[in-house]
Amino acid sequence: MSARPLRVVGHPVPRVDAIEKVTGRARYVTDLTLPGMAHAKVLRSPYAHARVRRVDVTRARARPGVFAALAGADLTWCDPYYGPAYRDRPVLAIGVARYEGEPVAAVAAVDEATAEEALELIDVDYEPLAPVMTLEEALAEDAPLVHAGQPPAGHFADLSTLRPRPGTNICHQFQFARGDAAAALGGADVVVEDAYRFPPVQHVALEPHAAVAAWDETGALTLWASTQNPYSVRVELAKMFDVPLARIRVVVPHLGGGFGSKTYAKLEPLAATLARAAARPVRLAASVPEAFQTVRRCASRVAVRAGFRRDGTLVAVACDADYDVGAYADIGPRVVQKGTYTATGPYRVPHVRLEARAVYTNTTPGGAFRGFGVPQLAWALESLFDVAADRLDRDPVDLRRQNFLAHGEEFAPGDTPIDGKLEESLSRAAEAIGWTRAPAADRGRGVAAMLKASVAPSVSEAIVRLHADGSVTVLASAVEMGQGTRTVLTQIAAEVLSVPLARVTVVQPDTAVTPYDQTTSSSRSTAMTGRAVQVAAEDVRDQLLAIAAQNLGVAARELALADGAVVAPARRLTYPEALALKFGMSGGELIGRGVIAPGRTAAPLGGSTPFWEMAVGAAEVSVDEETGAVRVERYVSVADVGRAINPLLLEGQDEGGVVQGLGHTLLEEMLYADGHLLNGTLLVYRVPRADDTPSELECHFVENADGSGPFGAKGAGEGSLIPVSPAVANALARLTGVRLRDLPLTPERVWRALRARSPRA
C-alpha cells in the first residue's frame, strides 16, 4: 500500500444518496409502476397448524378485475418449494399450513381493493391440528411434527450435508468440541452455570418486503425486489421455474432497511408465480403485520457452564443451545451453527463442548437478523461471565481482559487468526464510561464483549469502468439498505483512481448488469465487495499506468495517479488524454475486474472468516424500583473495525445497532398465546422511539488497519448490537443484585425480580 495520504477514504463524507433521500426522489420497490401491472393480495392461514383439505378459488377467479387466483395445488407447472437451507417451504401451503399467517392462496387483480375483495371469495377447508408453539412443546416426547417428511437439500453447498432428525422436530444439529470439556469442568476451581432465554423479535424494517415481477415475451423473468441477496433469489427462481440463471434478472432499488429480514427469497417466489399465472406484471407488497408473518429472529434457550481456575483463567465452556427456527428452515440451520461456533466469545478456552439444535415450531419462520445467532449466545455467556467475576471476586473488566484472545492467536484450527485487539476496545469502553470511578448511587454499570465470524467462504466480484471523459462506473451487487455501502464503494473507487466522488457512479444491483456478490449481510460488504471494487479499480489504474508508460516513455513505477491524471515526474496525462491515445479516438473505455473468492478451507465451518467482528459495550443504567422500568442512561460502544472508510456512516451504523439492541433488551418480544401471535402490529409491538434512547450514546472505533478488507478495513455494523443486552443486564445486576436470565427486561420482570430479591447482606 502506498504511503500517500488518503483523500476520501477515512473521511466523514456525506452519503452519496443523501440528496435523493431528503428530497423524496429515492425510489423503493413500492414506488415503481409498470404498464399493466396487477396488484397481489395473499390469503393466510388463521391457524398455527392445520390440514388444508381443499382450497376453492373458482369464485375469486371469476370476479371481474381478477387476473389470477392461485392455491398450492395449482402449482403443478413449477417446483413450488424453495428455501436456502432446505427447500422445505411451499410458495402456497400444500396440504398443511404450518404457521399462522402462512400464505394459502393469492390473487392478482387490477387494483389492491379488487384483490382484497377476491380473497373473500376463496373457500378454504381447514382441519385444525395440534400446534407446537414453543421449544418445550416441540421437543416433548410424541410432539406433533411440524414436518412429516424430509425436504431436499437447498442450494448451499455447505449446508447440503444438513439433515433433520427424522421423527422429531429437530431440523438441524451442530456440534463443536475441543479438548475435554467435561473433565476440565470437573477439575475447575470455580464452575458457574445458568440458562438464558432470548425472545423472538421482528426486524421492523420500516419498508416491509415488496416485489414486482414481470415475465417478458421471451420467457425471461425480471424482478424488482427489496432483497439483500439478488443472487440467492435468482437461484431460487431458476430452480422453481427451471429457467437458466441468465434469464432471470433481479434488480434492487433502494431498500428501506433490511437487518437480515430481506436475506434469501421472501416474497419473490410468490410474486413471480402470480405474474406468470396472470400473464402480466404483478406487484406484491407486504404490510407490517405480514412482515411479522414472513420472518423473525430465531428465539433461543441456552444452558451454559464455564469453569475457571482460582486465578481467573477460563478453562472450559460447555453450552447447549436450542434455537426456535419456526415453521420453515429458511437460513435457520446456518444461524444456529454460526451463532454456536463463537459461543465462547472472544476468549481463550482450551476445553469446549458446544451443542446446538435448530427446532421447528408452528410459528413465523426464523431467519437472519443482525448478529445472526450470536446475540442469543453472547447474552448467555456474557451474563455468565459477570456471575463468574462475582464468584471469583474479580472486576468484570479485569476478568475479561485476562482471558481475551490476543491479536494473531488461533480461534479454532484452520480458521483465521484473531485480527484485532479486544483489550484496546475494552480499555476505551471502560475509560469512556468511567469504569474506575464510582457511579452515582442510583446508577449501575456493566460491560460485555462480542466476537463474530463473517460468512465464509463467500464470493464478491466487481467491475470498474473508466469512461472517455474520465468518469467512473462501479458495477457491484452490494445492496444499499441504509448502511451506506454505495457511498463506501464510491469512496474506494474514487480513492484508487484519484477522482472526485462526484465522478463515480455506483450502479444499483441488477443481476443482468452488476456481477456476482453472494449476499449483503454478515457485515461483509465493505471488506469483501469493497475489496473487489478496490482490486477492479487497481486493475484500471494499472492499465492507465501502462498506457502512460508507453506514451510518455517513462517506467510505470515512476508514475502515479493524481487528480484525474497519470503524473510522471515532469508531465501529466489526463484520463481522457490517456484513453484517446489508447483508442485513437474519443471513445472506448478501460474495464477493470476484481474477484474476491478465498475458497474453502479446513476451518470448522468450511471457510475461514475474512475478518472477525469484535466489539465491546458498556452501559450505565438506572431502575425505577416502584415500576421496575430500566433506563439506559449512558452507553458506549467500541468496535474494532480496522479502518473506518467513512466514520460518519460507521458511527450511524453503530448508533443504530445499539438502539436496535436496546429494543430486544428492554421492549421487544413477539408474544404468542393459544396458537396466535398477539402483537404483530406496530400498535402493540413496541420498537425503540426517540425518547427511549440513552441520554448519552457514544460509538468509538479502534483502527489499526489490520483487516483484510480495503485499506485495512474489517466489517462492522452488527458488533455494536450484540453486547447491548448483557451489558445492560450486568449493569442492572451490579446496581440491584438482581440477575435476569430472560429477555426482554420488561418492567414486570424486573419488578418481580426486585420483589423476590433476598435482602442483601
Partner: protein, 153 residues
Amino acid sequence: MTIRLVVNGRPRDLEVAPHALLLDVLRDTLDLKGAKRSCDTQVCGACTVLVDGLAVSACTYLAVEADGRSVLTVEGLADGESLHPLQRAFVEAGAVQCGFCTSGMLLTAKAMLAENRTPTRDDVLHYLRGSLCRCTGYRKIVDAVLAAAETAR
C-alpha cells in the same frame, strides 16, 4: 367527488373517492412518492405530510379532509435546487440511512420548528415520538433538527 387543494404550492382540482386516503392520492394520483407507507396505522410517521402546516399521518387522513387546504410533501420542501435548511442539516449530520423514515422526519421536524423555534434536545426527542426510525438510533436525526433550528436563528 371533486376536491380543490394546494399541493406544494400548486393548486389542484382532483376527483377522489370519498374513502380515498390522502397518502394514496399523493402517491398514486399525483405521483408524489416521497411520503411512504409503513405501519398504515398512524404509529410510525413514515407517511407524514403537512396540511396547513400541521403534521398529519397521510395513511389515515381522508383526501376529502384536505379539501380547501394546503398540503406540503417532501417534494415541496426544497426551493428549486436549493435545499431547505432541515434537508441540508440531515445530509450533513448523517441523519439519513435507508431514507424510508426521512420524509416523515423532515416534515415532522418542520412542524415542530414552526411551533418552537428554540427546542431543547428533550423537546425534539419528545416531538419525534410518533416518528419511528429503525436505522439511525435517532441521535443524528436529533442533532440535525437542532442544527437546523440553530441556523434558522
